[in-house]
């Protein structure tokens, strides 16, 4: 028993030493490196003003009440029923992508941007007029390197720069 224990101690120490001297690293060097996401990533949402048929399905399916139908000021005429278009509130959005999947005209699309960082609370609400202008580009002090996760048999995961 004691011998077996000693062997196990030695094995544990040797394995530790093996990784100390060799071994791989799994770290993504954020924020120097920024990961490019694979196709189909469910990020922030883009809105196509022209193809939208204002059906409201996206607002109906939204599980977090993030997508709502806003009165579109430029289209609504006085005295008539107001025209409503979708807008999104990123304080609530949970990135489930149901609105994109239910949109019958493909007016909503995924982007691969996930940086929901804003200075103020109000900035995170995107009424239709702002929603159509697209998502804000994340800003960096220094332009980071774009990397892509490559799955690897030996190292598990590697981050390779993309051009």
């Amino acid at each position: 028993m004691a011998v077996e224990r000693t062997i196990r101690h030695i094995k544990a120490l040797a394995t530790g030493a093996k990784y100390m001297l060799g071994g791989h690293r799994l770290t993504l060097m954020y924020p120097d490196d920024i990961q490019e996401f694979p196709d189909g990533y469910r990020g922030m949402i883009e809105y196509d003003w022209d193809t939208c048929i204002k059906c409201g399905l996206c607002a109906m399916v939204c599980p977090a009440d993030a997508m709502k139908m806003y009165v579109s000021k430029e289209e609504s005429e006085e005295g008539k029923r107001p025209v409503r278009r979708p807008g999104i509130n990123y304080t609530r959005c949970i990135f489930c992508g149901f609105c994109v999947d239910i949109c019958p005209t493909n007016s909503l699309k995924f982007t691969k941007v996930h940086d929901v960082a804003f200075y103020t609370f109000e900035e995170q609400i995107y009424p239709p007029e702002r929603f159509r202008e697209g998502i804000p580009k994340p800003q960096y002090d220094k332009e980071p390197r774009r990397v892509r996760a490559v799955l690897d048999e030996k190292r598990g995961i590697r981050y390779e720069p993309v051009e």
């Binding site: 607002a59 709502k68 139908m69 806003y70 009165v71 409503r84 807008g87």
Partner: protein
């Protein structure tokens, strides 16, 4: 074991308890008994091999009744593990009390406590009646899972 076979077995055993046995193919058997007989019914189910409870569901039908469902199944008998037996009982709306099944199925300890906490059902003989489980100690008011407790919704318009 076949579904029909199990159902008739349960019917056989529960006959004198005034149980209504129904079933949903392929594997769910519903047993409804009056609340005075529920402990006895649970004992008999346990003797058959239904040794644990997966869920205790209390359903609120406002001003009418509460329905308590014990979703039980078996660990020790893998043939029975395929089946789910729902032991159910009705409680009057103004007197939601029933004996605890803790003696028969110790696995209901937290489940009954939760239904007590959130639905306001009283399980007589349960050691933690009157204590809070998930709600804060200071909570007062309507038990939140009852239908009287309204949750506001926003609708789709901003």
């Amino acid at each position: 074991m076949k579904f029909e076979e199990l159902k008739s077995q349960i019917e056989e055993r529960m006959k004198d308890l005034g149980a209504e046995v129904s079933g949903k193919e392929p594997n769910v058997v519903d047993v409804k008994v009056p609340r005075e007989r529920i402990v006895e019914a649970a004992k008999r189910l346990k003797e058959m091999g239904f040794d644990h409870v997966k869920a205790v569901t209390a359903i609120d039908y406002p001003n009418e009744r509460f329905e308590i469902v014990y979703v039980s199944s078996s660990y020790s008998n893998l043939e029975l593990a395929y089946f789910i037996v729902n032991l159910r009982t009705d409680l009057p709306y103004d007197d939601p009390k029933m004996p605890t099944l803790l003696e028969v199925w110790p696995s209901v300890l937290y489940q009954e406590h939760e239904e007590h906490d959130l639905m306001g059902i009283v399980f007589e003989g349960h050691p933690r009646m009157g204590e809070r489980l998930l709600l804060p100690e200071s909570y007062e008011g309507i038990p939140p899972l009852r239908k009287e407790f309204k949750v506001k919704t926003e609708g789709i318009n901003a």
